[in-house]
Symmetry: C2
Subunit: 321 residues, 2 copies
């Protein structure tokens, strides 16, 4: 398995399947949007276009490319139209843009976007701080976007942020999360992405939340998990969710995505770490792990700092031996 007698094994996950778990998982790559949006250094549109190209080439089949928020909110994503114009979306893949409101939806239509995402909040604090509304106003705005998108048959992914804990309020009421998830589904969202925006969820909490959401009538095929790895819990939570049949997980190449609530802390679950575990569980993702690692090493160079992914870190270290 090694290139020569003294070199270390360039480790790859060995597949051990479990027939009780999904055979295939949709990895929903959020690196270009959630990963980059908190980066203070504005990257050129050409770099973002190249990032998307490399991600699709590595086998990504669902990519959140950008966000149509007002440019003043997130300067990093002010070039949404320019980036989308430059990204060549492979046939059969999803290309998604976040839209905060009807104005964002209009812009996305003009740019030819065929799937959008909206954000609702589990808490009043996050709604006020990030969506500039109260919680009811935020979900109502999301519902308005879903209704308008339906007129053109555009699928809408509904994020429910802070579903497992809130940086200002602390613990979040599970029944509230379940009710909001059911409401997003009833509004017509094609996917409900339960967001552990600050990475505090643990496996039994994920299990209880999924039990609640599924019992409320949201089909398992419409539920995704959007996990951050701030406290290192993301993959244990993915493992818990797989047991419920959840088969769509968000991640960012290299684990990029600074946490605005704890500078220096880890961001999104890293795509490579997710893919390593899934492949090691015999679960197909369609992603070429080596190509993903190379993409994140390239993005690491663009950002001028290491990325937090354990797999990328280990691979980079092993290659330097």
């Amino acid at each position: 398995m090694s290139d020569d007698a003294t070199s270390v094994w360039f480790a790859r996950p060995q597949p051990f399947a479990d027939p009780g778990l999904p055979a295939r998982v949709q990895v929903y790559e959020v690196g270009p949007r959630d990963g980059l949006q908190a980066e203070p250094q504005i990257l050129p549109a050409a770099t973002k276009i190249e990032f998307a190209r490399r991600l699709y080439a590595a086998g990504v089949t669902a990519l959140e490319v950008t966000s149509f928020v007002p440019p003043s909110w997130i300067p990093q994503l002010a070039d949404a139209e320019e980036v989308l114009a430059g990204v060549d979306q492979p046939a059969g893949t999803r290309s998604v843009s976040l839209v905060p409101n009807l104005r964002g939806l209009e812009r996305s239509r003009a740019a030819g976007v065929r799937e959008v995402a909206v954000v609702a909040s589990s808490t009043e604090s996050f709604a006020h701080a990030n969506l500039n509304k109260d919680r009811e106003g935020a979900i109502a705005a999301a519902e308005a976007v879903v209704a308008e998108a339906a007129t053109t048959g555009t699928p809408v992914r509904g994020y429910l942020s802070m579903a497992f804990g809130d940086p200002w309020e602390g613990p979040v009421d599970l029944d509230t999360v379940v009710a909001l998830a059911a409401r997003l589904y009833a509004a017509g969202c094609s996917t409900i992405a339960l967001g552990d925006t600050i990475g505090v969820a643990t496996p039994n909490q994920v299990a209880r939340t999924l039990e609640g959401v599924l019992a409320a009538g949201v089909p398992v095929s419409a539920v995704a998990l959007h996990l951050h790895d701030t406290y290192g819990m993301a993959l244990a939570n993915v493992r818990a969710a797989l047991g419920f049949g959840i088969a769509e997980f968000d991640s960012a190449a290299g684990g990029i995505g600074r946490c605005p609530y704890a500078r220096g802390a880890t961001g999104n679950l890293a795509t490579e770490d997710l893919v390593w575990m899934l492949h090691g569980m015999g679960i197909d993702t369609g992603i070429d792990l080596e190509a993903m690692v190379a993409t994140s090493q390239w993005m690491s160079a663009m950002l001028g700092r290491p990325v937090p992914s354990r797999v990328v870190t280990a691979r980079t270290a092993a290659a330097a031996l």
Copy 2:
């Protein structure tokens, strides 16, 4: 939950219990031994003694303090007698020393050690590289230590290294691992610690291995997992093992422990990350998470570099806000 309206929540795991999982877990702290042994900078014995004091004060009840290997093998641990003489072991706790052979057992007895650990290898390559024997020679040496230790009623913890993958050989045969684990148990080991020495295991592999080991007659109460977090899989693997009733897991404060097979890669599973997840699952560990974080922050200062624990990293970042 926050000190004032603008500060972020100083996140703590919220307990969500699952009655099907162990109610209490023994965290087996290996920081002073496995964590420090690969550190090139030799720490003074007084620092190691203070490390042990802080760990016990944080609620650690099983501590692997040092190793009686020949000083030339691991210079960092050449001060085993001096360290043990300075460590005040609290009543009711375990204090364990690694012994590679009968000479090490003799030294440990002279130092008053009441529990020892031995190392067997799942592979020929690791046995040759780290134990200076072939695989059969390594387990025979371990069996000899167990037999001699039995004459004084000393419990022996048996490590089975490279049980999930080997840096030279790649994948490891599961039946071989099961047979070796059963043999260590038959020899009289009180605990069999299955070692993912390079951190490549994934959850279904852990499940299959545990199924095999338990089916071979090793009682669940005698099985522990020794996980490294090189590829970020450790906590997902802990979650899988909890489902089998495994209730002893090895970890190192801060996740210290360089991987000699991939420089720069992450070492042992971090105690804080393990404790965060367990407490979030309503599982008691007896460990004060805040005191553990403070201990690792102190050790980080001693080593002059950040430690890889996600929890320590997030806590350090949040405190700097």
